[in-house]
Symmetry: C2
Subunit: 199 residues, 2 copies
Protein backbone atom coordinates (compact mmCIF):
# COMPACT_ATOMS: atom_id res chain seq x y z
CA UNK A 1 0.00 0.00 0.00
CA UNK A 2 1.02 3.57 -0.63
CA UNK A 3 -0.71 6.89 -0.14
CA UNK A 4 -3.25 7.70 -2.86
CA UNK A 5 -1.81 9.26 -6.07
CA UNK A 6 -2.84 12.84 -5.25
CA UNK A 7 -1.34 12.64 -1.76
CA UNK A 8 1.90 11.19 -3.16
CA UNK A 9 2.07 14.01 -5.71
CA UNK A 10 1.52 16.56 -2.96
CA UNK A 11 4.29 15.11 -0.77
CA UNK A 12 6.66 15.08 -3.76
CA UNK A 13 5.78 18.66 -4.67
CA UNK A 14 6.70 19.88 -1.17
CA UNK A 15 10.17 18.37 -1.50
CA UNK A 16 11.22 21.18 -3.86
CA UNK A 17 11.24 23.55 -0.86
CA UNK A 18 14.67 24.21 0.68
CA UNK A 19 15.21 22.26 3.89
CA UNK A 20 12.21 19.99 3.31
CA UNK A 21 12.91 16.23 3.20
CA UNK A 22 10.48 13.32 2.78
CA UNK A 23 9.32 13.34 6.42
CA UNK A 24 8.65 17.09 6.59
CA UNK A 25 6.94 16.98 3.21
CA UNK A 26 4.62 14.26 4.49
CA UNK A 27 3.90 16.21 7.67
CA UNK A 28 3.08 19.32 5.62
CA UNK A 29 0.72 17.44 3.30
CA UNK A 30 -1.26 15.81 6.13
CA UNK A 31 -1.28 18.93 8.25
CA UNK A 32 -2.94 20.90 5.46
CA UNK A 33 -5.37 18.12 4.49
CA UNK A 34 -6.44 17.65 8.10
CA UNK A 35 -6.40 21.13 9.47
CA UNK A 36 -6.03 23.93 6.99
CA UNK A 37 -7.45 23.34 3.52
CA UNK A 38 -8.43 27.00 3.30
CA UNK A 39 -4.87 28.12 4.03
CA UNK A 40 -3.56 25.59 1.52
CA UNK A 41 -5.84 26.91 -1.23
CA UNK A 42 -4.63 30.41 -0.38
CA UNK A 43 -0.99 29.26 -0.58
CA UNK A 44 -1.73 27.63 -3.94
CA UNK A 45 -3.26 30.86 -5.23
CA UNK A 46 -0.52 33.19 -3.96
CA UNK A 47 2.20 30.84 -5.20
CA UNK A 48 0.75 30.88 -8.69
CA UNK A 49 0.31 34.64 -8.62
CA UNK A 50 3.81 35.34 -7.39
CA UNK A 51 5.49 33.03 -9.91
CA UNK A 52 3.51 34.58 -12.77
CA UNK A 53 3.84 38.23 -11.79
CA UNK A 54 7.02 38.81 -9.78
CA UNK A 55 9.77 39.96 -12.11
CA UNK A 56 12.85 42.15 -11.79
CA UNK A 57 12.89 45.92 -11.23
CA UNK A 58 14.05 47.35 -14.54
CA UNK A 59 16.54 49.62 -12.84
CA UNK A 60 17.98 47.83 -9.78
CA UNK A 61 17.07 44.19 -10.58
CA UNK A 62 15.45 43.41 -7.23
CA UNK A 63 12.27 41.34 -7.29
CA UNK A 64 9.03 43.29 -7.70
CA UNK A 65 5.81 43.05 -9.65
CA UNK A 66 5.98 46.52 -11.22
CA UNK A 67 8.39 48.04 -13.72
CA UNK A 68 10.21 49.79 -10.87
CA UNK A 69 10.55 48.84 -7.21
CA UNK A 70 9.51 51.14 -4.38
CA UNK A 71 12.98 52.68 -4.09
CA UNK A 72 13.64 53.13 -7.80
CA UNK A 73 10.19 54.74 -8.13
CA UNK A 74 11.03 57.26 -5.38
CA UNK A 75 12.43 60.48 -6.96
CA UNK A 76 14.16 61.50 -3.72
CA UNK A 77 16.15 58.29 -3.62
CA UNK A 78 17.01 58.60 -7.29
CA UNK A 79 18.45 62.12 -6.89
CA UNK A 80 21.05 60.70 -4.51
CA UNK A 81 24.34 60.10 -6.30
CA UNK A 82 25.39 57.08 -4.24
CA UNK A 83 24.76 53.55 -5.51
CA UNK A 84 24.88 50.58 -3.14
CA UNK A 85 25.60 47.15 -4.65
CA UNK A 86 24.17 44.11 -2.85
CA UNK A 87 23.89 40.45 -3.74
CA UNK A 88 20.20 39.86 -2.98
CA UNK A 89 16.83 41.51 -2.24
CA UNK A 90 17.20 40.24 1.34
CA UNK A 91 20.53 42.11 1.66
CA UNK A 92 18.85 45.24 0.26
CA UNK A 93 16.14 44.95 2.95
CA UNK A 94 18.81 44.50 5.64
CA UNK A 95 20.57 47.72 4.56
CA UNK A 96 17.24 49.56 4.35
CA UNK A 97 16.36 48.51 7.87
CA UNK A 98 19.35 50.45 9.24
CA UNK A 99 17.79 53.64 7.75
CA UNK A 100 21.36 54.86 7.22
CA UNK A 101 21.58 54.72 3.47
CA UNK A 102 19.51 57.14 1.40
CA UNK A 103 20.77 56.38 -2.11
CA UNK A 104 20.03 53.93 -4.90
CA UNK A 105 20.67 50.20 -5.10
CA UNK A 106 21.81 47.69 -7.64
CA UNK A 107 20.98 44.06 -6.83
CA UNK A 108 23.28 41.50 -8.45
CA UNK A 109 20.95 38.54 -7.68
CA UNK A 110 24.06 36.48 -6.97
CA UNK A 111 27.82 36.85 -7.19
CA UNK A 112 30.55 35.97 -9.68
CA UNK A 113 31.19 32.24 -9.57
CA UNK A 114 32.99 31.04 -12.71
CA UNK A 115 32.84 27.43 -11.49
CA UNK A 116 29.01 27.60 -11.64
CA UNK A 117 29.03 29.45 -14.94
CA UNK A 118 28.04 32.74 -13.31
CA UNK A 119 29.96 35.51 -15.04
CA UNK A 120 29.49 39.29 -15.34
CA UNK A 121 26.47 38.96 -17.66
CA UNK A 122 24.58 36.70 -15.24
CA UNK A 123 24.80 39.23 -12.41
CA UNK A 124 23.76 42.19 -14.57
CA UNK A 125 27.11 43.94 -14.86
CA UNK A 126 26.35 45.15 -18.40
CA UNK A 127 23.31 46.92 -17.03
CA UNK A 128 25.41 48.29 -14.16
CA UNK A 129 27.99 49.55 -16.63
CA UNK A 130 25.26 51.53 -18.43
CA UNK A 131 24.11 53.03 -15.13
CA UNK A 132 27.66 54.08 -14.23
CA UNK A 133 28.06 55.61 -17.67
CA UNK A 134 24.74 57.40 -18.02
CA UNK A 135 23.47 58.22 -14.54
CA UNK A 136 24.92 60.78 -12.21
CA UNK A 137 26.67 58.43 -9.77
CA UNK A 138 29.61 59.75 -7.72
CA UNK A 139 30.15 56.85 -5.30
CA UNK A 140 29.56 53.12 -5.45
CA UNK A 141 29.34 51.32 -2.08
CA UNK A 142 30.19 47.64 -2.43
CA UNK A 143 28.08 45.73 0.09
CA UNK A 144 28.54 42.22 -1.28
CA UNK A 145 29.07 39.46 1.31
CA UNK A 146 32.50 38.96 2.93
CA UNK A 147 32.93 35.58 1.22
CA UNK A 148 35.51 34.62 -1.40
CA UNK A 149 32.93 35.14 -4.17
CA UNK A 150 31.57 38.33 -2.65
CA UNK A 151 35.07 39.80 -2.38
CA UNK A 152 35.93 38.80 -5.95
CA UNK A 153 32.70 40.39 -7.17
CA UNK A 154 33.38 43.58 -5.22
CA UNK A 155 36.88 43.72 -6.67
CA UNK A 156 35.59 43.25 -10.22
CA UNK A 157 33.04 46.05 -9.84
CA UNK A 158 35.62 48.32 -8.20
CA UNK A 159 37.69 47.95 -11.39
CA UNK A 160 34.66 48.90 -13.50
CA UNK A 161 34.22 52.01 -11.38
CA UNK A 162 37.90 52.89 -11.78
CA UNK A 163 37.66 52.92 -15.57
CA UNK A 164 34.74 55.36 -15.25
CA UNK A 165 36.60 57.37 -12.58
CA UNK A 166 33.82 56.81 -10.06
CA UNK A 167 34.78 56.38 -6.41
CA UNK A 168 34.19 52.84 -5.08
CA UNK A 169 34.16 51.90 -1.39
CA UNK A 170 33.80 48.59 0.45
CA UNK A 171 31.73 48.28 3.63
CA UNK A 172 33.85 47.58 6.73
CA UNK A 173 34.26 44.06 8.05
CA UNK A 174 35.28 43.33 11.61
CA UNK A 175 34.00 42.40 15.01
CA UNK A 176 30.17 42.77 15.10
CA UNK A 177 28.94 45.37 17.60
CA UNK A 178 28.20 43.54 20.83
CA UNK A 179 30.32 40.59 19.70
CA UNK A 180 32.92 39.10 22.04
CA UNK A 181 36.44 38.81 20.71
CA UNK A 182 36.97 35.28 21.99
CA UNK A 183 34.11 33.97 19.88
CA UNK A 184 35.04 35.74 16.64
CA UNK A 185 36.68 33.66 13.91
CA UNK A 186 40.28 34.41 12.98
CA UNK A 187 39.45 35.67 9.50
CA UNK A 188 37.07 38.30 10.85
CA UNK A 189 39.60 39.30 13.49
CA UNK A 190 42.26 39.72 10.80
CA UNK A 191 39.87 42.01 8.91
CA UNK A 192 39.23 43.92 12.12
CA UNK A 193 42.95 44.49 12.71
CA UNK A 194 43.69 45.47 9.13
CA UNK A 195 40.75 47.87 9.13
CA UNK A 196 41.77 49.58 12.39
CA UNK A 197 41.43 53.35 12.65
CA UNK A 198 43.03 56.01 14.88
CA UNK A 199 40.92 57.13 17.82
CA UNK B 1 11.11 49.60 2.61
CA UNK B 2 9.51 46.20 2.58
CA UNK B 3 9.32 43.43 0.03
CA UNK B 4 6.75 44.02 -2.71
CA UNK B 5 3.13 43.08 -1.85
CA UNK B 6 3.12 39.78 -3.76
CA UNK B 7 6.38 38.66 -2.15
CA UNK B 8 5.08 39.58 1.30
CA UNK B 9 1.89 37.60 0.62
CA UNK B 10 3.95 34.63 -0.50
CA UNK B 11 6.14 34.70 2.63
CA UNK B 12 3.02 34.94 4.82
CA UNK B 13 1.34 32.07 2.99
CA UNK B 14 4.31 29.76 3.64
CA UNK B 15 4.00 30.39 7.39
CA UNK B 16 0.93 28.14 7.55
CA UNK B 17 3.21 25.12 7.03
CA UNK B 18 4.18 23.22 10.20
CA UNK B 19 7.71 24.05 11.36
CA UNK B 20 8.03 27.07 9.06
CA UNK B 21 8.80 30.41 10.75
CA UNK B 22 9.37 33.85 9.18
CA UNK B 23 12.99 33.15 8.19
CA UNK B 24 12.28 29.78 6.54
CA UNK B 25 9.23 31.21 4.80
CA UNK B 26 11.39 33.99 3.35
CA UNK B 27 14.02 31.49 2.24
CA UNK B 28 11.37 29.36 0.54
CA UNK B 29 9.84 32.32 -1.30
CA UNK B 30 13.16 33.57 -2.68
CA UNK B 31 14.44 30.11 -3.47
CA UNK B 32 11.42 29.44 -5.69
CA UNK B 33 11.45 32.90 -7.30
CA UNK B 34 15.13 32.65 -8.09
CA UNK B 35 15.58 29.03 -8.93
CA UNK B 36 12.45 26.99 -9.42
CA UNK B 37 9.40 28.81 -10.76
CA UNK B 38 8.36 25.71 -12.68
CA UNK B 39 8.41 23.59 -9.53
CA UNK B 40 6.50 26.29 -7.67
CA UNK B 41 3.77 26.37 -10.31
CA UNK B 42 3.56 22.59 -10.07
CA UNK B 43 3.29 22.80 -6.26
CA UNK B 44 0.53 25.39 -6.64
CA UNK B 45 -1.36 23.13 -9.02
CA UNK B 46 -1.00 19.93 -6.97
CA UNK B 47 -1.89 21.77 -3.76
CA UNK B 48 -5.12 23.02 -5.30
CA UNK B 49 -5.97 19.62 -6.73
CA UNK B 50 -5.30 17.76 -3.49
CA UNK B 51 -7.32 20.18 -1.34
CA UNK B 52 -10.26 19.99 -3.76
CA UNK B 53 -10.27 16.26 -4.39
CA UNK B 54 -8.80 14.38 -1.41
CA UNK B 55 -11.60 13.24 0.87
CA UNK B 56 -12.14 10.33 3.24
CA UNK B 57 -12.56 6.67 2.28
CA UNK B 58 -16.21 5.91 2.92
CA UNK B 59 -15.38 2.73 4.77
CA UNK B 60 -12.13 3.23 6.73
CA UNK B 61 -11.92 7.05 6.82
CA UNK B 62 -8.34 7.29 5.55
CA UNK B 63 -7.56 10.03 3.04
CA UNK B 64 -8.11 9.16 -0.61
CA UNK B 65 -9.62 10.69 -3.72
CA UNK B 66 -11.99 7.83 -4.54
CA UNK B 67 -15.04 6.48 -2.68
CA UNK B 68 -12.90 3.65 -1.31
CA UNK B 69 -9.17 3.47 -0.62
CA UNK B 70 -6.90 0.84 -2.16
CA UNK B 71 -7.35 -1.53 0.78
CA UNK B 72 -11.10 -1.14 1.18
CA UNK B 73 -11.49 -1.69 -2.57
CA UNK B 74 -9.55 -4.98 -2.36
CA UNK B 75 -12.00 -7.93 -1.92
CA UNK B 76 -9.28 -10.16 -0.44
CA UNK B 77 -8.59 -7.68 2.34
CA UNK B 78 -12.30 -7.23 2.98
CA UNK B 79 -12.90 -10.96 3.45
CA UNK B 80 -10.52 -10.92 6.41
CA UNK B 81 -12.40 -10.69 9.69
CA UNK B 82 -9.78 -8.68 11.57
CA UNK B 83 -10.07 -4.90 11.87
CA UNK B 84 -7.05 -2.80 12.84
CA UNK B 85 -7.74 0.61 14.40
CA UNK B 86 -5.11 3.32 13.89
CA UNK B 87 -5.03 7.04 14.57
CA UNK B 88 -3.81 8.30 11.19
CA UNK B 89 -3.18 7.42 7.53
CA UNK B 90 0.54 7.56 8.34
CA UNK B 91 0.08 4.90 11.05
CA UNK B 92 -1.89 2.79 8.56
CA UNK B 93 1.03 3.03 6.12
CA UNK B 94 3.49 2.07 8.89
CA UNK B 95 1.48 -1.09 9.67
CA UNK B 96 1.14 -1.91 5.97
CA UNK B 97 4.88 -1.63 5.49
CA UNK B 98 5.45 -4.55 7.88
CA UNK B 99 3.36 -6.73 5.49
CA UNK B 100 2.21 -8.63 8.59
CA UNK B 101 -1.40 -7.57 8.75
CA UNK B 102 -3.80 -8.77 6.05
CA UNK B 103 -7.11 -7.45 7.38
CA UNK B 104 -9.11 -4.23 7.22
CA UNK B 105 -8.45 -0.87 8.83
CA UNK B 106 -10.38 1.85 10.51
CA UNK B 107 -8.64 5.22 10.71
CA UNK B 108 -9.78 7.47 13.56
CA UNK B 109 -8.08 10.58 12.12
CA UNK B 110 -7.19 11.54 15.70
CA UNK B 111 -7.87 10.33 19.23
CA UNK B 112 -10.32 11.13 22.01
CA UNK B 113 -9.36 14.43 23.61
CA UNK B 114 -12.27 15.92 25.58
CA UNK B 115 -10.19 18.99 26.43
CA UNK B 116 -9.99 19.82 22.70
CA UNK B 117 -13.66 18.96 22.12
CA UNK B 118 -12.79 15.71 20.35
CA UNK B 119 -15.33 13.11 21.39
CA UNK B 120 -16.47 9.77 19.91
CA UNK B 121 -18.35 11.45 17.04
CA UNK B 122 -15.27 13.39 15.89
CA UNK B 123 -13.21 10.22 15.51
CA UNK B 124 -15.93 8.31 13.65
CA UNK B 125 -16.96 5.92 16.41
CA UNK B 126 -20.59 5.91 15.27
CA UNK B 127 -19.42 4.65 11.89
CA UNK B 128 -17.18 2.11 13.63
CA UNK B 129 -20.12 0.93 15.71
CA UNK B 130 -22.06 0.24 12.50
CA UNK B 131 -19.17 -1.74 11.08
CA UNK B 132 -18.89 -3.83 14.26
CA UNK B 133 -22.63 -4.45 14.14
CA UNK B 134 -23.09 -5.20 10.45
CA UNK B 135 -19.80 -6.57 9.12
CA UNK B 136 -18.33 -9.92 9.91
CA UNK B 137 -15.54 -8.81 12.29
CA UNK B 138 -14.17 -11.30 14.82
CA UNK B 139 -11.19 -9.37 16.20
CA UNK B 140 -10.36 -5.71 16.61
CA UNK B 141 -6.65 -4.86 16.97
CA UNK B 142 -6.18 -1.55 18.77
CA UNK B 143 -3.06 0.07 17.30
CA UNK B 144 -3.54 3.59 18.65
CA UNK B 145 -0.43 5.35 19.96
CA UNK B 146 0.92 4.54 23.43
CA UNK B 147 0.06 8.03 24.71
CA UNK B 148 -2.48 8.99 27.37
CA UNK B 149 -5.03 9.87 24.67
CA UNK B 150 -4.21 6.82 22.56
CA UNK B 151 -4.66 4.51 25.56
CA UNK B 152 -7.95 6.17 26.55
CA UNK B 153 -9.18 5.83 22.97
CA UNK B 154 -8.15 2.15 22.84
CA UNK B 155 -9.93 1.55 26.13
CA UNK B 156 -13.11 3.24 24.91
CA UNK B 157 -13.20 1.16 21.72
CA UNK B 158 -12.43 -2.04 23.65
CA UNK B 159 -15.61 -1.36 25.64
CA UNK B 160 -17.58 -0.92 22.41
CA UNK B 161 -16.27 -4.32 21.22
CA UNK B 162 -17.22 -5.91 24.54
CA UNK B 163 -20.86 -4.87 24.17
CA UNK B 164 -20.85 -6.51 20.73
CA UNK B 165 -18.96 -9.56 22.07
CA UNK B 166 -16.13 -9.00 19.61
CA UNK B 167 -12.59 -9.80 20.74
CA UNK B 168 -10.39 -6.71 21.16
CA UNK B 169 -6.58 -6.79 21.50
CA UNK B 170 -3.98 -4.10 22.08
CA UNK B 171 -0.62 -4.14 20.25
CA UNK B 172 2.33 -4.80 22.57
CA UNK B 173 4.44 -1.98 23.90
CA UNK B 174 7.95 -2.47 25.15
CA UNK B 175 11.60 -2.14 24.25
CA UNK B 176 11.97 -1.59 20.48
CA UNK B 177 13.83 -4.38 18.71
CA UNK B 178 17.49 -3.34 18.58
CA UNK B 179 16.91 -0.77 21.34
CA UNK B 180 19.30 -0.61 24.28
CA UNK B 181 17.75 -0.81 27.71
CA UNK B 182 19.80 2.02 29.16
CA UNK B 183 18.38 4.49 26.65
CA UNK B 184 14.71 3.46 26.99
CA UNK B 185 12.42 5.72 29.04
CA UNK B 186 10.99 4.39 32.29
CA UNK B 187 7.42 4.31 31.07
CA UNK B 188 8.30 2.06 28.14
CA UNK B 189 10.36 -0.16 30.42
CA UNK B 190 7.40 -0.49 32.81
CA UNK B 191 5.26 -1.57 29.85
CA UNK B 192 7.95 -4.06 28.84
CA UNK B 193 8.02 -5.60 32.31
CA UNK B 194 4.25 -5.76 32.68
CA UNK B 195 3.93 -7.31 29.23
CA UNK B 196 6.55 -10.01 29.88
CA UNK B 197 5.88 -13.50 28.58
CA UNK B 198 7.21 -16.95 29.50
CA UNK B 199 9.93 -18.29 27.24
ZN1 LIG C 1 14.51 48.99 -8.18
ZN1 LIG D 1 -10.53 2.59 3.13
Amino acid sequence: MQFSPLIKELIDAFKILPGVGPKSAQRMAFHLLERNRQGALQLSHVLHNAMEHVKHCEQCRTFCENKLCEICANPKRQENQTLCIVESPQDMLAVEQTSEFKGRYFVLMGHLSPIDGIGPAEIGLEQLSQILENDDITEVILATNPTVEGEATAHYIAQMCKTQTIKASRIAHGVPVGGELEFIDGNTLTHAFNGRRDI
